[in-house]
């Protein structure tokens, strides 16, 4: 075995460089910061897009009950992604297609979904169903019968 003797200072400097390189590389991969509808590092990944899932909804909400939320997501990237969190936007307002009376008192509450494993293939569009993600209170207005509610959400995921 060959023994190479290097001073303590050299090793400390080497350790620091190794640490910085490791940190830099790894952080660069994760820090795809940005704002708006989605972001990715240096233009190499595109934002997911959320479409209208109204056609996939099934009437299952009623006062005192809970129901499913439909989420239609398109992944324009050449790699698969896994969605892990769907949360109601801060300050977001749930609206309906039934007008002002229903909107004033939908009675609908969305429960943030975490720990999800919603897989989306490269270039695919998929409509996901989030079971029991919404509930409706007895405050729901009579005009909300048959309504389709739109819940503003933020979706978080990563390449998979």
């Amino acid at each position: 075995m060959i023994t190479i003797r290097i001073s303590r200072k050299v090793f400390v400097a080497f350790a620091a460089v190794v640490a910085l390189v490791a940190t830099g590389v790894i952080v660069a991969a994760w820090s795809t910061t940005g704002s708006g509808n989605g972001y990715a590092k240096a233009g190499t990944a595109s934002a997911l897009t959320i479409g209208d899932a109204s056609a996939a909804t099934v009437g299952d909400l009623y006062p005192g009950g809970s129901g499913a939320v439909k989420l239609k997501v398109t992944n324009p990237n050449p790699f698969a992604v896994r969605i892990t969190t769907v949360a109601k936007q801060t300050g977001g307002v749930i609206t309906s297609d039934k007008g002002a009376a229903c909107n004033a008192s939908t009675g609908v509450t969305f429960t943030d979904q975490t720990g999800l494993a919603l897989d989306l293939a490269a270039g695919a569009t998929t409509t996901f169903s989030l079971a029991n993600a919404v509930s409706m209170s007895n405050a729901s207005d009579n005009t909300c019968q048959g309504a389709i509610f739109t819940i503003p959400v933020d979706v978080t995921g990563a390449s998979n």
């Binding site: 350790a15 991969a29 509808n37 009437g59 499913a68 939320v69 936007q89 993600a133 405050a139 019968q145």
Partner: protein, 136 residues
Amino acid sequence: MRWFALTVAIAAAVAAGFPGGAAAGWRVLASGGAQAKAKTLGSGNRPSGTVSGHRVTLTWAASSYAEGGAPAGYVVRRFDAGTGVEQVVGASCAGIINALTCQESSVPKGSWQYSITPATANWRGPQSVRSLTIVV
């Protein structure tokens, strides 16, 4: 060799702070609207009634949501058979009735018709066809 081992240990510790490593991939976000849909209450069913003195006993068949499932209850309404004017129904049949029958006591003399409306909280389904005239 001790320093080399230390160096490797430091690098490993740093890497461990980022699970999955650089190859773990890209974080992706999106914002938009998700959708959910409400049920619709079906129509009430025409009630039938029997009279005993000033007491009227009504019965009716169950209603449902268009998508399935039963409403929480039913609203009973009474009308003057001649004028069509709605009357105040007796306490035993007032509010949302969680049954398929109702017995109204102390009904005034007259000719009356009843209807049934499915109800859940603030929601109301279409009112039933009115009953045949009931004479008290």
